[in-house]
């Protein structure tokens, strides 16, 4: 079992798992953002690898990917940022979020060598469904790496049971159909779905896709063990791109995003617990 997951994720029910794109807008900004997110109570970080064809992502993350690719970010380079985060105090698990083609090109052996060298804890491949993932599940197990599985409201009971049985780290519940992006409201049947997942999952259940308001977090808190926040944060980053790129204004820009996060996850009362 992965030690960092054990310490920061297992058995908790107030999980805050932010997603940022590596290299959006720069490597240095990514490091500072990760550290800030930890300070604000993040339990793990999803480090998104920019891709030319992100099939599961909406416009916000697509644009972030383009920004990061313009600076030459790649899967290997992104994985090499993690030790720098660790040096500067990052303790929580880092989950590499990458489309399958990037993983195939890097190769399984090289990927896990980097996982071990760079203290990486998890892998999430949005376009590698359960049926195609057996080999990767095995190699993740051998390398002490959580392979994060996703389930959606349309996932059949049969598949849900099979996926929940094999899931490691936490189980990622997709709140709605379609792609990542902020949503103002959840369909009411989502909560039944989350209940169904909770009853089947031996590991924490976190909900993502569209989480962008404290009211949503407050509501979800009653049903599951945490939230995954992607587009809402990436949108904040986008608004601060200039500030984040310029060394003089970087701290100010980060603090801007920090106050957004603080408000967003206020229902978890993270800072009270941590201090």
């Amino acid at each position: 079992m992965n030690k960092r997951f054990e310490k920061h994720v297992d058995g908790r029910s107030d999980l805050f798992i932010p997603f940022i794109v590596a290299g959006d807008p720069t490597e240095e900004a990514t490091i500072k953002l990760a550290l800030m997110l930890q300070e604000e109570g993040a339990n793990a970080i999803e480090l998104g690898i920019p891709y030319s064809d992100p099939l599961a992502d909406g416009p916000v993350i697509q644009r972030a990917s383009i920004r990061a690719l313009e600076h030459g970010m790649s899967l290997e380079k992104a994985m090499n940022i993690v030790p720098k985060m660790r040096e500067r105090g990052l303790e929580i698990p880092v989950i590499v979020f990458t489309y399958y083609n990037l993983l195939l090109q890097l190769g399984e052996e090289r990927f896990f060598a980097l996982v071990r060298e760079n203290n990486i804890d998890g892998l999430l491949v949005p376009d590698l469904p359960f049926e195609e993932s057996e080999e990767w599940r095995e190699s993740c197990k051998m390398n002490d790496t959580a392979l994060i599985s996703l389930v959606a409201p349309t996932t059949s009971d049969k598949r849900l049971t099979a996926i929940a049985k094999e899931a490691t780290g936490f189980l990622y519940c997709v709140s709605s159909l379609g792609v990542t992006g902020t949503r103002t409201d959840f369909h009411s049947s989502v909560f039944e779905f989350i209940d169904r997942v909770k009853s089947l999952s031996p590991i924490p259940v976190a909900v993502g896709f569209g989480v962008s308001a404290p009211e949503q977090v407050a509501k979800l808190k009653e049903y599951c063990d945490g939230v995954i926040v992607g587009s809402a944060i990436v949108r904040q980053i986008e608004a601060q791109v200039d500030g984040l790129t310029n060394e003089e204004t970087q701290v100010e820009a980060i603090d801007h995003i920090r106050s957004y996060i603080r408000d967003l996850i206020s229902p978890y009362e993270k800072l009270k617990i941590n201090t």
Binding site: P54, Q62, L75, E76, Q105, D127, P129, G178
Partner: protein
């Protein structure tokens, strides 16, 4: 053996499969089940063949290109005239099949992707015919380049949705169509345009295009020695080749070599691509070292796709089909020759296949035969042709 693919998981050897987000799995499961039921339903297949006959004008004839064959002095060249289909290309065979399936599944809307607009026009056409609402996703860059087809789609009542993500071309339009479909699967059917995408799409499109090869087998007195077709995603080629796979017939797929393979500006996926995932399927694709998908180039918008259908990747690997490349210039030369010799202006896509036949015919005996899939007519391409051949034609 090749009739055994795809397997249960949608695999053609190590190619194919379903590499899609979890949110798309239900949509694919539903499609797979409905497709199996429809294909086993005699009434459904009878409807499909009736539409092909009475609406699209099938069977399309085979024309002996006598003047051309004589001029080349070798094998006899025969043309399977998919250009005579309604809307001017093989694309409609597949669009009719999928639209009928959409209706059978109770869907009210279809979405499609298009590059040059040929598949978009086919989708808009069947939507009008079968009373479906139609959205066609098209890259902004392509909308600019293909004004006329954009207008045709609108005239047919479809909504053309501009795609400004990524490189704003066919691959991005396909991503966007899949994204939209997954979010709206309850009432929406995704009508894909070639033998690409996650299982069961490559199989479904092949099965709706195999009418090309099935008819050809009946129409030719003897089996041809060679069959040649152009390959973008690979639907006309797959439809043509599939019924010949078990025969002693040489099969040749022609990719677009663009400005020449060495220039890097081409769409020669099989010779220059690497194994990877594109649009939910494992196959060869054009990509950079780290796995970002690259833009292809071809003078023919229909061959301008960075991937290739997984069954072609499989047939290439098993050696059953040989794949070659034809450049923009070679295709234009072939187009001009066919126009002059036979009074047929082919689509630039189809001219790639023809050019390969022109290369190979002189080395074959006069009693040997080459069957070329003339996948479409050239009307849509006159602007491009004028740009490149204008001077030559005036003389």
């Amino acid at each position: 053996m090749s009739t055994m693919v795809p397997d249960q998981r949608g695999r053609y050897g190590r190619f194919g499969g379903k590499y899609v987000p979890e949110t798309a799995m239900y949509a694919l499961e539903e499609l797979e089940q409905s497709l199996d039921e429809a294909m086993a339903d005699e009434q459904f297949m009878a409807n499909y063949h009736e539409e092909l006959k009475k609406y699209s004008g099938r069977p399309t004839p085979i024309t002996h290109a006598e003047n051309l064959s004589k001029r080349l002095g070798g094998a006899q060249i025969y043309l399977k005239r998919e250009d005579l289909n309604h809307t001017g290309a093989h694309k409609l065979n597949n669009a009719i099949g999928q639209a009928l399936l959409a209706v059978r599944m109770g869907k009210e809307k279809i979405v499609a992707e298009t590059g040059a607009g040929q598949h978009g026009v086919a989708a808009a056409t069947v939507a009008a015919r079968f009373g479906l609402e139609c959205k066609v996703f098209m890259g902004k860059e392509d909308i600019r380049r293909q004004e006329l087809n954009v207008f045709r789609m609108k005239l047919l009542g479809a909504e053309v949705v501009p795609v400004s993500s990524g490189s704003k071309t066919l691959k991005d339009a396909t991503n966007e169509a899949i994204r939209y479909w997954v979010a709206n699967v309850e009432d929406t059917f995704y009508l894909i345009g070639s033998v690409v995408g996650p299982h069961p799409y490559p199989k479904m499109v092949r099965d709706f295009q195999r009418v090309i090869g099935d008819e050809s087998r009946e129409q030719m007195e003897d089996l041809p020695n060679k069959v040649i077709a152009c390959v973008g995603g690979g639907s006309n080629a797959m439809g043509m080749f599939y019924p010949f796979l078990q025969d002693d017939v040489q099969l040749v797929g022609v990719e677009a070599a663009g400005k020449g393979i060495h220039t890097g500006e081409h769409a020669a996926t099989l010779s220059e691509g690497r194994l990877g995932v594109i649009h939910g399927s494992i196959t060869y694709l054009l990509q950079n070292e780290t796995g970002q998908i690259q833009e292809p180039h071809s003078i023919s918008a229909g061959l301008d796709y960075p991937g290739i259908g997984p069954e072609h990747a499989y047939l290439s690997e098993t050696g059953r089909v040989t794949y070659t490349g034809i450049t923009d210039m070679e295709a234009l030369d072939a187009l001009k020759v066919l126009s002059e010799e036979e009074g047929i202006i082919p689509a630039i896509e189809s001219a790639h296949a023809l050019s390969e036949a022109i290369k190979q015919a002189p080395d074959m005996a006069k009693d040997e035969t080459i069957l070329v899939c003339l996948s479409g007519r050239g009307d849509k391409d006159v602007h491009t042709i004028m740009e490149h051949l204008g001077g030559e034609v005036d003389e």
